[in-house]
């Protein structure tokens, strides 16, 4: 099986072609968010506030990078455990995100929401922080900079390896084993 080249942002046609187990190399822009950014987004939406950025069509990467050493774009930047973001799946997909990148299993509700919203969940390679850092070509904080490593970053990636873990047809790579 070859790595499939995927340009970001994702579109419906691309997402229709993605099945659990498909190996993809991503090119383009991602937004990052992990525990605290999700909590803050959900809080703002609950209070009827506007977000300082749009999530429509975006792919969200669950990551909290190490600080960049001088001269570096970003530090180590591998995925964190996705299941901690499961409680926010409805909010985030409702705001229009089309893709999520993390590592590990999703809950049943998230998998159903992925089907409902015709989105996709990718797992990247957990613990490959140095390798994945080298696949990030630009990085800037766009919101919540007080959250430090948990701020929302816009990243540009080139050849960023991910595996389709949950697809819009209900496929789940983690259900094939054992």
């Amino acid at each position: 099986m070859e790595w499939k080249r995927i340009e970001l942002p994702l579109n419906d046609e691309v997402i229709r072609g993605l099945r659990a187990g498909c190996m993809c190399m991503l090119y383009g822009k991602l937004l990052t968010a992990r525990d605290k950014a999700h909590q803050r987004i959900a809080g703002m939406i609950a209070r009827g506030e506007d977000l300082p950025f749009s999530l429509a069509g975006e792919t969200i990467y669950y990551v909290g990078p190490t600080p960049p050493a001088p001269g570096r774009i970003i530090g180590a930047a591998g995925p964190t455990t996705s299941s901690r973001m499961d409680p926010f799946s409805g909010t985030m997909l409702g705001l229009g995100i089309k893709g999520m990148i993390g590592k590990g299993k999703r809950d049943l509700e998230t998998k159903e929401l992925i089907q409902k919203y015709k989105a996709v969940y990718f797992s990247s390679i957990g613990g490959a922080g140095a390798y994945l850092s080298m696949r990030i070509t630009a990085s800037r904080v766009i919101a919540f900079d007080d959250l430090a490593t948990e701020a929302v970053y816009e990243l540009e990636v080139s050849g960023f390896p991910v595996i389709v873990a949950c697809d819009m047809y209900g496929g789940d790579i983690y259900e094939h084993q054992v």
Binding site: G64, G75, G78, G104, A148, V178
Partner: protein, 283 residues
């Protein structure tokens, strides 16, 4: 005449800074050989490519001085302090915390510690370290460091077995725990197993078990046989690298046992991720 030896805490601090740098950026030869062996045994593209990326990750981390994993962990520090050693300088816990603060700042490591589990305000220094201090006979001073990431720590498990339960039930429990954790603790795992003691001793021993020299089995044949049985069982469970399916679920299994109450048989599991960041030294 009573023997005594003096160690300055500045030396302990300097050694600990070195250990944090070493473990954050350098995968020891044992880990690289283990990854290469697992890759050779995998039959699917996803498992092989995953192992290729993990192997390349160790090379990039060392060459580019980028941490192996963005979760540079909490610092778990084990100290064996000889009873005849006199410490000079700072309070030893302050020396350890000052080493952690300095290393995490100087090497651009992530600060992942919050001061209160419910308020969750980041301390900004990655302190406090989690320190286990044992007094041992003589003049030795041993320092061991484990950097532990949250994703793998969150898969930790403890079960209090009946003393009459069989070893097979323990093996079943271990396999079940590892399979249920699946991708979350970032397999291939280095599994630390604490058996016996009180519940807290078993948990600590599940970490101490992994301080053993890399690539060695238990020195007691009964326990080394048990380690091998668990290792074989896990590697036929199908979890595989990063839980994508495959043969490489565990890189090593290390047991540390302890005496126990007549009513108790605790079994504690430390599902350490593939990024085993452990190093030690004697002063």
């Amino acid at each position: 005449m009573a023997m005594s030896r003096t160690i300055h805490t500045d030396l302990i601090k300097d050694k600990l800074v070195d250990l944090i740098r070493e473990t954050s950026f350098i995968a020891p030869p044992f880990i690289k050989e283990c990854f290469a062996r697992i890759r050779e045994n995998e039959s699917t593209d996803i498992a092989r490519e995953t192992m290729n990326i993990l192997i390349e990750n160790t090379e990039i981390a060392a060459a580019e001085q980028i941490p192996l994993c963005q979760d540079t962990g909490v610092a778990v520090v084990f100290i064996e302090l000889g009873q005849s050693v006199r410490l000079e300088g700072d309070y030893i816990y302050d020396a350890v915390n000052s080493a952690v603060e300095e290393a995490y700042r100087k090497f651009y490591l992530r600060k992942s510690v919050v001061s209160d589990p419910l308020e969750r305000k980041n301390t900004g220094t990655n302190t406090p370290a989690f320190i286990h201090l044992d007094i041992v006979p003589g003049e030795t001073f041993r320092l061991d460091l484990m950097l532990k990431g949250g994703g793998s720590e969150n898969m930790s498990a403890l079960r209090m077995f009946r003393p009459t339960d069989s070893v097979d039930m323990i093996i079943d429990y271990i396999e079940d725990t590892v399979v249920k954790a699946g991708p979350n603790p970032c397999p291939p795992l280095f599994l630390g197993v604490g058996i016996g003691g009180t519940a807290d001793t078993a948990m600590t021993n599940s970490k101490r078990a992994l301080l053993r020299p890399a690539g060695t089995w238990h020195s007691n044949p009964f326990y080394s046989d048990l380690e091998k049985r668990i290792y074989e069982r896990l590697n036929s469970s199908g979890v595989g690298p990063m839980g994508f399916g495959g043969a490489g679920t565990a890189g090593a299994v290390c047991i540390k046992e302890a005496p126990a109450h007549i009513a108790s048989l605790p079994v504690a599991l430390n599902l350490n991720c593939h990024s085993l960041r452990v190093a030690g030294c004697e002063l």
